[in-house]
């Protein structure tokens, strides 16, 4: 359970090799200035060459039928390479919403084209206010029509379909539901939001009397939202630990080559011990992220606690890695031409998406107390 299989290691290797070839930092820097924000050619290669469009999606919907563990490997490599693409928003988040809540008709309608990369979907979640920790959603759908503005919608600029989170205006219990809206609806307007992380696009999407379709059966999706958020937190955590690892490696490499006062700075305890502490923090965060992914794959009931552990640990490790990496690089690490800041910005944007560490730690205590009581 705590070791990857040979197949899993091969998957990691092939994704890494693909991204080394197709997701160079220089290409990423070009994409940062382009409107789509990702490379359609290399993105299509994920489906055509690598066949990872639906790692964890059942074969009947065109996926590879593997588990969340395999998905976590793919995501870690994408995080490591800082690969800009709508994979996370469409093939993971939106696909998960469909998998978790959709009816079999909806899955059959949407998952194959998402899995093949033909259509891009994204989840629209955050409202304009009440977003200091996680989305506190008050908007609702009435008569299959939705009006309201969502922000921090990942890859909104390229989405073919939005999966909107909103309450059911007719339901007295009024839980959170997911609703499908087509991006070509005339009531939808998408504006790009400026993100500190130019390698991942976000948008503000306004819906005005937009016709939406409920995801899932009326009485079936209770608790689906919480599970969706937990799955998303884990996916993000898996991506984040890959980025943290890249930062550590690049810092060690820089330190090994940088000479000051007639000696390598990598021989100085201030630098060495910082790297040792960072390695420990990243290894712990990796374990948290791996364990949570395994728990999803195994439908382990402890999963919600593990999800909080994974996201909180990844947040702290990635941010620490980002800050330390700049510090170890010194002045050069603060320049635009050095690559460190690209990962720093990804770390910061990931840290606040789907819950800060403080949020997850507080949540963990409710969840772990239940576990321990078992």
């Amino acid at each position: 359970m705590f070791a990857f299989t040979d197949e899993q290691l091969q998957l990691r290797e092939s994704v890494r090799r693909y991204l080394i070839d197709h997701a160079t930092v220089s290409r990423t820097r070009e994409l940062m200035d382009e409107s789509a924000g990702f490379d359609r050619l290399s993105f299509q290669g994920l489906f055509n060459e690598l066949g990872i469009g639906g790692v964890h999606i059942p074969e009947e919907y065109g996926g590879a039928g593997l588990s969340y563990v395999e998905l976590s490997i793919v995501l870690e490599e994408m995080g490591r390479a800082l690969y800009p693409s709508p994979y996370l928003s469409s093939n993971v988040f939106a696909a998960n919403a469909l998998l978790l809540i959709g009816t079999s008709e909806q899955k059959a309608e949407w998952l194959p084209s998402i899995t093949s990369g033909e259509r891009l979907a994204t989840v629209a979640l955050y409202e304009e206010s009440n977003r200091s920790i996680v989305a506190n959603i008050e908007q609702s759908v009435t008569d299959q029509s939705f009006t309201g503005t969502k922000s921090f919608v990942l890859d909104a600029n390229v989405a073919d379909v939005f999966i909107v989170v909103a309450r059911d205006g007719f339901d007295p219990v009024n839980p959170l539901r997911f609703w499908l809206a087509h991006s070509n609806d005339s009531g939808i307007q998408t504006i790009a939001m400026e993100s500190i992380d130019s390698t991942r696009r976000i948008g503000r999407v306004s819906f005005e009397n937009v016709k939406v379709e409920r995801l899932g059966d009326r009485n079936q999706d209770h608790g689906g939202f919480g599970k969706f958020i937990d799955f998303a937190s884990v996916a993000l955590a898996n991506e984040m630990v890959g980025g943290a690892q890249w930062l550590l490696e690049s810092s060690v490499e820089y330190a090994n080559h940088r000479v000051q006062f007639g000696r390598s700075i990598s021989s100085m305890q201030a630098i060495k011990h910082k790297c040792a502490d960072l390695l420990l923090e990243i290894e712990l965060a990796k374990s948290g992220a791996y364990r949570a992914a395994q728990a999803i794959a195994a439908a382990d009931s402890a999963f919600p606690a593990y999800a909080s552990i994974a996201k909180a640990a990844a947040n702290d490790a990635y941010m620490q890695a980002a800050a330390d990496a700049i510090q170890i690089h010194g002045g050069i690490g603060f320049t635009w031409d050095n690559d460190t800041h690209l990962w720093f910005k990804r770390a910061k944007s990931s840290q606040v998406l789907f819950g800060t560490s403080e949020f997850h730690r507080d949540q963990l205590l409710d969840r772990i107390a239940v576990l321990e009581a078992d």
Partner: protein
């Protein structure tokens, strides 16, 4: 012969069926095990073993456990002595010492650390001077667990001061039953005295009790330390493995275990007793205090992730990757966890955290935790040393400039 799981089970079951009796004498039984090679089955047949691969030892353990059979003496330092003798001793030494280690008749301790060489073990200044047929030992060792009831010690001492420090060390078997050896307990800030100081004043070691040759000391000590690290987590395993069986032999074994483990009773406190945090937080209501929740959660996250990291390392080993310096990562994690646990225990206890003794939280356990945790980041290699190891051996970073490479007599010392 080639061992298989089935052949191990078969043979061992017949042996146990024929010989095991919970009311036999502990010494008799252990001698039987030793003669049959079932005490240390992975050892060579020549030396009380059966040349069995490590991977089958868990099968042996299962069979012993299923009938509740007691095994050879394994707790404390004794197995480090045995493994060192197996690796570097000569046959006469193995003949003289191995059996009585396994029977438990003779106990051992480790004489490496000195007041002036803690992090820098190779900086030992205990002298070994060869006079006639004896090495004459002068100097002082410290942090010696169980020296007060040890029969023998694994001694690292310097025979040559004119060559670089790692080269001038030799390794000896020191007999405690002599006039030149004095043992004083060393009291700690938490009130325990788990360690001793050992003073040598013209203590004698017969030439035959030198292990290896002069100058091999450092290399042999590394063998001992490797086994120490490998077994560090196992000290308590034996003790916990059974207890549902009745018989005279268990009482004798329990007495032995109690003596050997006495110095280690506070180790779980030193590690912060993470296990009692949540129950205490519930009992005191601290679990509803948002600031306390944050700190408790930090602790739980560290602690769980460290456990999983250890499991990942073990799984990698089982897949055939060699054990590496990642033990240092675990040790460093342990320090962080213990410190955070102390912080959380304080926060949960409030003003009660200053009380100790029976009339205090958890009958003094909390106070003992708070006064024991500072040891964890020092004992067995400080956090600073672990960070050096991690950065150099895992991350491949460079060593600091060395100031101790010349003849040892010229190296700056305390």
């Amino acid at each position: 012969m080639e061992w298989t799981e089935a052949s191990v089970r078969n043979e061992l079951r017949s042996f146990l069926e024929a010989n095991w009796d919970p009311n036999s004498d502990l010494l008799d039984w252990r001698n039987k095990l030793i003669d049959a090679g079932w005490g240390m089955p992975s050892w060579p047949e020549r030396w009380y073993g059966r040349d069995m691969p490590q991977s089958l030892l868990s099968v042996v353990a299962e069979e012993f456990a299923s009938v509740g059979a007691v095994t050879v003496a394994r707790t404390g330092i004794r197995l480090l002595a045995a493994e060192t003798l197996l690796a570097h001793g000569n046959d006469a030494q193995r003949e003289r010492y191995l059996r009585k280690i396994l029977t438990g008749e003779e106990t051992w301790c480790q004489l490496f650390s000195e007041p002036g060489s803690g992090s820098d073990l190779a900086g030992s200044t205990t002298r070994a001077d060869l006079v006639g047929d004896h090495w004459i030992i002068n100097g002082q060792k410290v942090w010696t667990t169980s020296a007060h009831h040890a029969d023998f010690g694994l001694l690292l001492a310097r025979h040559d001061w004119d060559i670089p420090k790692h080269q001038g060390l030799s390794y000896f078997i020191l007999n405690f039953h002599q006039a030149g050896v004095e043992v004083h307990p060393l009291r700690q800030m938490n009130g325990h005295a788990s360690f001793n100081q050992v003073f040598f004043n013209d203590a004698k070691v017969p030439r035959n009790d030198q292990i290896g040759s002069s100058g091999d000391g450092w290399q042999i000590a590394m063998t001992t330390l490797m086994h120490e690290r490998r077994n560090a987590g196992n000290i308590f395993v034996e003790a916990r493995r059974r207890g549902d069986f009745e018989g005279l032999i268990y009482e004798h074994e329990a007495e032995e275990t109690k003596v050997v483990l006495a110095p280690y009773t506070w180790y779980p406190l030193r590690a912060g007793r993470v296990d009692i945090v949540l129950p205490r937080a519930s009992d005191t209501g601290a679990i509803n205090n948002p600031a306390a929740r944050q700190e408790i959660a930090k602790l739980m996250i560290m602690s769980r992730c460290a456990e999983w990291t250890a499991l990942r390392a073990r799984a990698a080993q089982q897949q055939g990757q060699p054990q590496g310096p990642e033990g240092s990562l675990g040790k460093l994690a342990g320090s962080n966890i213990a410190r955070q646990a102390a912080k959380v225990h304080t926060l949960i206890s409030g003003v009660d955290a200053m009380a100790c003794g029976n009339d205090s939280p958890e009958s003094g356990i909390i106070a003992e935790i708070l006064l024991s945790v500072p040891a964890i980041s020092i004992a067995g290699g400080t956090d600073e040393i672990q960070r050096n190891i991690i950065s150099e051996r895992v991350l491949g970073m460079q060593k600091e400039p060395r100031m101790d490479t010349g003849p040892f007599k010229d190296v700056r010392k305390n």
